[in-house]
Symmetry: C2
Subunit: 321 residues, 2 copies
């Protein structure tokens, strides 16, 4: 299925999120320090070959995490930045086109990560910069998180790795993906649930089991998770179609097929879907921040930072054409 | 790589586990009730088409779980049996040869399960007997387990699903798998860590985080996990090679290549490896059962039941040629 653009992707309708997340967003005073530290971390663990790719990734990660965790301490924010950077670099290097080309190789890389996630951290002859870096991250996370927070985080990391693999298997055949399956997997490929679990560790709060299972928290998290994936899809669409090649595995593509609209109609519909999720998230954030204190209020603020950082990052140069 | 047997697999050396796990093994008084209940459960959730396959799977599962949890109550033991049955049926139906033939299809089936494991249990238009059955299992597990036990269990289930996928990608190319990678993944493809997590729920005890992280518990679990996969490999080798086709992805195959021995030598070596793991497990079980009480002693007994059930099950007709 090859893509023919019926509209210029640069002029397509985009969501108006200013009502729910108006900005300017609070930013950590450590933003520059994060950029420096991620660059240093990449010197210790050379995950990316291209210096320019490295520079742009450190910049977007540092600036994004600075908006995600404006009040976190340096160690917490560094940890979140390095983890997000690892996920993005793993996806860029072993997932996406490379993963689609050789899914068995990707499965092998993931199996090494799953072994580390299971608590086997002895070095092996097959170690790479990716396993070394993951070992470093897991050690730091384990020190800072409670055992249950660590377990939850490593569970979401497994879902990210599976999400990358799911994407690699479907990248060249978006026509085989249903809309509901796409929406189910998208939070894992955009890493947003891992970001939520990391924010909890970085900000040193922990929801009780009842709070986590409550309708308010579940609905808030789901809205932020959907929003994160969908606005990323809209923002990166033009860049992805500029490359030529097959139609991207992306929300607009799925809407065109399943809602029988053209590209502009798909963008209009997707924009409305994003606005709806943003408005649900905002309602729940306000409700939790006003009516609660302690971990629930902390969680509302964390979700606000996460939504803000995803809303902010889609304007970054990484997504410019 | 096609397999040529240099020895008759039926006369190959097998491990002597009588010193560590002598048997006869304690058996639940509910064994027959489990067999009846798993058959009923398969009528509600038709996971398998062939009545004979269904009958043999219910029998081995019921008898195995009766030895695994000789002291558990009926609900706990039924839950463990149904879960193990689900995993085995999923592997037989969607994994193995079928999964290797079409890994994208397998990825799709797994993605539906991952969505349920993430707590989204609304019915979808894509539901199958497998998703319906998993939804039933997760609901029952959630009722009986603590939130952390439930989280741990669903994490191990993700590893099982990934293990099935890893196997599907490598089934026809065991020569691309290293020995250490094989040993790392084998516990997930034999479901033993999930069985451990389920035993904890079925027997209603919970290790503290410190107990779980202790060297004694980790070493015991690792030994039982290795033993479970390796004896299964030895027991099923003859059946798998009788089918003809490619060399099985199995410990003997890996040892032949990586330790430069023939099939008989590989079986001798693997048998010694099994005996070593069994003896480590027995030592740790005795130590924990004698020196501790409460959850640690419960855990030692649970691990004993798990080892016993895997030692027992390799003599079952499912593995006869």
């Amino acid at each position: 299925m090859s893509h023919t653009r019926s509209s210029d992707a640069r002029t397509l309708p985009m969501p108006d999120l200013g009502g729910s997340f108006p900005g300017p967003f609070a930013t950590s005073p450590h933003a520059n320090a994060i950029e420096q530290q991620t660059a240093d971390w990449l010197r210790t663990f050379p995950l990316l070959r291209s210096p320019s790719e490295q520079k742009i990734l450190c910049n977007i990660t540092a600036q994004g995490v600075a908006r995600l965790l404006p009040t976190a301490d340096r160690d917490g924010i560094f940890l979140c930045a390095d983890l997000f950077l690892w996920l993005t670099a793993f996806d860029d290097t072993h997932g996406e086109a490379e993963g689609a080309r050789d899914t068995t190789r990707l499965v092998h890389h993931i199996s090494q990560c799953v072994h580390l996630l299971n608590g086997y951290d002895e070095p092996t002859e097959e170690d790479s910069a990716y396993t070394d870096a993951l070992r470093d991250l897991l050690g730091r996370l384990q020190k800072r998180a409670t055992p249950t927070q660590y377990l939850r985080l490593t569970t979401h990391l497994r879902d990210n790795l599976f999400g990358i693999l799911w994407e690699a298997h479907h990248l060249d055949r978006p026509d085989q993906v249903t809309l509901s399956n796409y929406c189910a997997m998208r939070p894992h490929t955009v890493f947003v649930r891992t970001v939520m679990a990391t924010a909890e560790v970085a900000l040193r709060y922990e929801l009780t089991d009842d709070q986590r299972a409550s309708a308010a928290v579940r609905e808030l998290e789901k809205a932020v998770a959907n929003l994160a994936g969908w606005i990323n899809d809209l923002a990166s669409y033009a860049k992805e179609t500029d490359r030529g090649g097959p139609t991207p595995l992306s929300l607009p593509t799925l809407l065109i097929r399943h809602r029988e609209c053209d590209l502009e109609g798909a963008f209009r519909l997707a924009s409305r879907m994003c606005e709806d999720q943003a408005s649900t998230a905002r309602l729940r954030i306000t409700e939790l921040a006003v009516n609660s204190k302690g971990p629930l209020a902390d969680h509302a603020r964390a979700m606000e930072g996460i939504a803000a950082s995803y809303v902010w990052h889609v304007g970054h140069a990484r997504y410019k054409r």
